[in-house]
Symmetry: none
Subunit: 214 residues, 4 copies
Amino acid sequence: MPKQTFFNLPKQKRDLITRLALEEFASHDYHSASLSKIVERAGIAKGSMYQYFGGKKDLYLYLFNLVGQAKLSYITSKVPDPESLDLFSYLKELMMASAGFEIHHPLEYRMGMRVVYGDSPFKEEERQQMKNAVVDFYKGLLIRGIERGELDPDLDVDAAAFLLSAVSLELGSFIMNRLDLDSEDLQSSKIDWEALEPILDTVIALIKNGIARR
Amino acid sequence: MPKQTFFNLPKQKRDLITRLALEEFASHDYHSASLSKIVERAGIAKGSMYQYFGGKKDLYLYLFNLVGQAKLSYITSKVPDPESLDLFSYLKELMMASAGFEIHHPLEYRMGMRVVYGDSPFKEEERQQMKNAVVDFYKGLLIRGIERGELDPDLDVDAAAFLLSAVSLELGSFIMNRLDLDSEDLQSSKIDWEALEPILDTVIALIKNGIARR
Amino acid sequence: MPKQTFFNLPKQKRDLITRLALEEFASHDYHSASLSKIVERAGIAKGSMYQYFGGKKDLYLYLFNLVGQAKLSYITSKVPDPESLDLFSYLKELMMASAGFEIHHPLEYRMGMRVVYGDSPFKEEERQQMKNAVVDFYKGLLIRGIERGELDPDLDVDAAAFLLSAVSLELGSFIMNRLDLDSEDLQSSKIDWEALEPILDTVIALIKNGIARR
Amino acid sequence: MPKQTFFNLPKQKRDLITRLALEEFASHDYHSASLSKIVERAGIAKGSMYQYFGGKKDLYLYLFNLVGQAKLSYITSKVPDPESLDLFSYLKELMMASAGFEIHHPLEYRMGMRVVYGDSPFKEEERQQMKNAVVDFYKGLLIRGIERGELDPDLDVDAAAFLLSAVSLELGSFIMNRLDLDSEDLQSSKIDWEALEPILDTVIALIKNGIARR
DNA sequence: CATGAATGAGATTTCATTCAT
DNA sequence: GATGAATGAAATCTCATTCAT
């Protein structure tokens, strides 16, 4: 919840501040991230940041929400209507979109990871809620899958949702490994988008059928 | 590599310092963790820490090794000979032991997670190596499984190892959720150890057979 | 290269800081000089110094340049055109001005001596360059003297320049001795300026004719 | 004035400590020189230094005296009886010996320079006394020269002594320049001893006859 | 006599935040 | 609304010195 003054800024300036702040929080811990560095790079006065935001925490929360919205709208725009696909196709689209976000918005991705794993001004409770939100989303998906007869009604939905959430959390790391990329490649976004699909096919197949011999 | 001074301390004091340092590094990123806080809580002089350790980084590396050894010896002591079990039984034992460690050594567990995800004095390269070590371990396991005919020779070993590593990373979080525990419960270790087994059975089954309807 | 912040300060405050810093660096080696002491005496916050300067080294370099400029402008203002005087008269004027600077700017003088002889953030190479600059200046003077027929063409210019540089370095010490002064007298500047001239005459005569019997 | 315990040490150990301490004080300011570093390198306990010496200052004074004695005995051993030589030949021998000391005992030389120019636990008064001791020595020499008819009775003895003292202080620096050496060459003592003589001849001639055209 | 752990002062530096202009 | 100087707490680390064993 930045102050109104922030939204009164010319879009260009607002975006500059947002981007630089995001870069800082993406590459540093909440505690280690430095407002001083941000304002220095942005070429604005330190006091101005306090005209725009209530303080460091306020800025953090703003970016956090921004990242969440960005991810949501990215994925929403890429993934088709869940009703039009069977569960596993939908899962694949979802994960491809998710991977796409990580690749095309590496800053947002890395900030998101820090929210989950690193220091943050959130209480532990709130952190758990975030993780649960993902799990709950997958739970909803699975329940619908059962209702539509795509999944076994006896499926342990909690456990399966956990499996999906664990995979999706680490998926980015796996893809980078598989494509032999590193963070810098992400920045420059020279990703072979079509190379993504077979990787996801493989992962989804494993989730679907397990690793056991048939 | 603490200095000899540290090892000459009476065990009680040494353990106190180790525990307090571990608590600090378990609840804060490397940069945010504060030597000053540690010595304050330990009731020792600031200079004394520098008699014991070369500096912050030295202390961190010491704890890091400690955690690694603790985990290794814990798991080694709990998990039976891999040759005497089929793959999935072994996996279950492994993950139970792993979960047991997380439950009974929550500080060590959280410090370990920070090494993987948070800021650290390690170079990115070294961090990747650690993650890869886990994946490689699972790869070895899977390859043996194939050789023993327990797994399909066509299994994508990399992808499957990634799946296992992702699950094992998040397993602690899932168990805490399932048992409705939080960090404080972990500290007091009032865990129903026998409640663990069915949870693992479920997870292993999912990994084994996937989530699809049969 | 202090920050703009420093130059924006009211002259009074800027001068206070400069003077106190100069006093500290004049009476202590670079390593021993203490920013903490300076800010304490100046009655400003520790952090403020870092608004003004990049750090200890930056402050040191600033003072170093200040001293150099002060000396240059002082001497330039006192010493007449070298073309209008014979070599030894010019030398005398030069050394009188130099002594005058040492007497009237004792802090600057002592800081300068420390740059030459004491610890400093300069590399040894740079220190040599400074010393050489003085020697080179005298070499230039001597060469011109030869060209103008005032000196023997066979004069060993290097050795003579060394002699002049050695004398000029220690001249202040000699004058203080001769006039029975100490550092405190310098501070209060109760110097009999006219007493200076015969001393310099004597020294110049020695340099000119040597100490041997004629 | 070290404590008796120091002199009770086996010579080998005593020399080791002396040498390492000298190295430290030769390359650092009094303030910056570190007892900790010395004992670390010497492999002895910190407390032991306080059994040997009253403290940092005591150690410093001990080394200071040692250096003085070393220089005195070195020069005494090299320079012939002053009665057997004319003044300028004696001066030349003196300065050659002095230069020889600087070259063959660089640590002692550099420590001596620090005593004169750098920070030290001596009061300013004491520092002046040391400088004066050198000047007084040259004064005695000059007075004897006058008495023996080698110098003009009207010579300004004070000024001439100052000249000699200034030259002798900087002589080392000049020689190093002339022979194109640096500190490291000193350490390894690969000095062409015979190259020294003509340099000194030149310098002495300048002192003797001045730089003026005849 | 030797040891070396303990101490606390003091060093440089960074940071979030406030507030007068 | 923008500025940026001022602040002081807090961080890491080094050091000379003491003292119990």
